[in-house]
Subunit: 222 residues, 2 copies
DNA sequence: CTTGGCTTTAATGTATACTTATATTCTTTG
DNA sequence: CAAAGAATATAAGTATACATTAAAGCCAAG
């Protein structure tokens, strides 16, 4: 990253994904430039890049805020994410290489301990590698990019599901179904298994909306 | 569009979609600022926004070019487009409202004449409205945005298929299958019909690669 | 006391000046 | 004559100054 604007963009992204900057928070150009010791120009450029991807919203003459999602929008994104992830799984079932499949099975085995001991932190790390291997096996970098883009926009509303004790074990079982289907080389089954995993049988929708209302309440109490 | 950078961004987008700016073409900040009578700042900001969406590529200190696609990337995008469009069709089959369905049927009827007389220009216009109505019926603005984003990036390589005489009639028949499935409220059938339409039974892949090599050759002869 | 309008202020948007890095060209040396 | 290196030029990246607009605060009038 040679340009200051890219550095700043990365830092803002990180702060949003970590929840340090929350939806609705104002992103002031001057504040950014002071915090990161650059002039307003690269700070502003960073904001505009993020606005182009939808992570922040800019209204002319009114500054930028971290994008807030309505329940409808969040559901739409989750629906789309399920579509993309399940397609990636279907592709992976057809295209994954032996060594990638071995790695996938290994990660799944490695995550078993974390799942059974409800160790969310370790499990989340494994989960990231698990899905990453599927994107790689799918041999479609574009769909992987869209998935990452969508996940980053949902992050604030969608993160916490793996912090629920019951979800970790359920997730591991669902992962197992995906692995099985990919191992068989069955794209339809992999697709169905992944869709079920992302939506967790529909419960994730309810979680999402519940989380949104909860977080909105906690904002009011600030 | 209150900001000059938004105006410039729109103009560049239009020039790219119309083929006036072609993949690989350099986008010079100074040239832009002179052509559109603005300073370098908004010109540069326009470029950065487009770079964030992937339509142009910026390499630090080396300026920006309209993104070129390798065959692999183009195939990946088409694959993803098929996934998104077919999902939108499935959703529309479940959610479309009566008046939207009426409009869809009307557009399909209207396009029949254009299809049979091989009037590509009229048909392409109808085609746009047809797909737009499906996005609307799908009640998922996010997936519609991703589709539009993907189409804009594929535009240069993917446009011309409806200028082939045989494709127009085939497209109309495929549209008919989609309409039928949506009318029945059958999401699986709508999904399959739309996937088949986007890929036209696999021929579009071949077309895409052929078009790419052809256009690359014509660039060399400039 | 409240409301409407004006004034001031602060932040966005734009222009331009300045810095830095890269590429090209010219010169020098082998 | 060729190749390598230095110098210059050009364009990207950054900083800052200026313009413009919206928002907030204040004053006056009803």
């Amino acid at each position: 990253m040679a340009r200051a604007s890219d550095t700043v963009r990365g830092l803002i992204e990180k702060e949003i994904s970590r929840g340090k900057l929350r939806p609705g928070d104002l992103i002031d150009e001057k504040m950014l430039s002071e915090r990161f010791q650059v002039s307003r120009t690269p700070a502003r450029e960073a904001i505009m890049q993020l606005a182009a991807t939808g992570l922040v919203q800019m209204r002319p003459r009114h500054g930028a805020v971290v994008s807030e999602l309505s329940a409808d929008e969040a559901v739409a994104m989750l629906e789309t994410l399920a579509c993309l992830e399940s397609e990636a799984a279907a592709l992976a079932a057809q295209r994954i290489r032996q060594e990638e499949l071995d790695a996938l099975i290994a990660v799944h085995a490695e995550s078993e301990a974390a799942a059974h001991s409800h160790d969310s932190k370790s499990y989340i790390e494994c989960n990231g590698r698990f899905h990453g291997l599927i994107y790689k096996g799918a041999r479609n970098t574009y769909i992987a990019d869209l998935i990452r883009q969508t996940r980053s926009r949902l992050a604030y509303y969608h993160t916490s599901s793996l912090y629920q004790r019951s979800r970790v074990e359920r997730s591991w079982v669902e992962h197992g179904n995906v692995v099985k289907a990919i191992e068989k080389g069955d794209p339809e089954e992999a697709q169905a298994a992944m869709r079920d995993h992302i939506l967790s049988g529909g419960r994730v929708y309810a979680d999402l909306v519940a989380t949104m209302t909860h977080k909105k309440e906690s904002e009011n109490t600030d």
